[in-house]
Symmetry: C2
Subunit: 122 residues, 2 copies
């Protein structure tokens, strides 16, 4: 008898998993931090990005500091003054990180749906 036959037909199953990259002593990247970086790119502002995500400015900075701690050069940089009156940018390295994480996450979602089928047929 397969797992599928053990289960009630009315129960539609899905595999749930949140993917996160951690280091020896801290979190590094996960879907929430990626979203924060994307919102900083969109708005050019940490406070606006934080507001869009319903988090405090302090919390956003904590997350950014935690990310920056892992990289040779900061991923998020604030510029003060200048023609545009400052603002915050995500560096090219940061954009590469976003792309790599989203690829990882996308592959992961596909893997999970395939694996669920294997599980049900087993």
């Amino acid at each position: 008898m397969s797992i599928k036959e053990i289960l009630k037909p009315s129960k539609i199953l899905h595999l749930r998993s949140l993917l996160r990259i951690e280091s020896n002593d801290d979190r590094f990247l996960g879907p929430g931090r990626i979203e924060l970086l994307e919102k900083i790119i969109e708005t050019g502002s940490i406070s606006q990005a934080a507001k869009l995500m319903g988090m405090s400015y302090k919390k956003a900075w904590d997350l950014i500091n935690s990310i920056n701690k892992h990289t040779n050069t900061p991923i998020v940089m604030t510029q003060t003054g200048g023609e545009r009156g400052g603002g915050t940018i995500v560096t090219e390295d940061g954009k590469q990180l976003i792309i790599a994480f989203k690829k990882l996450h996308n592959d992961f979602e596909i893997y999970l749906s395939e694996k669920l089928e294997t599980f049900l047929q087993s």
Copy 2:
């Protein structure tokens, strides 16, 4: 530049993810529930299994009821009286579920370590 080069060499990364099977309206199986089922097999007792896991008897029953709700026949069954004075068993279907979940989880761990390498090289 690869992701590996963006990162500080001192930071050893790992992918963290907890795998869980959910249904439309509830959780179904995850590492904690699998451990509970295994401890019930070992001890033949829900109260002893709960104690080994540091959870209340009520909590253990809640988890068991939640699992049983998903299957055509209960996975955990209590027997009262009889020669051995009752006890709790995990059915053959339940044992098949444990094996299938552990296979899934093991494959998943291998996948994660492979994917981390891909991520770092990207």
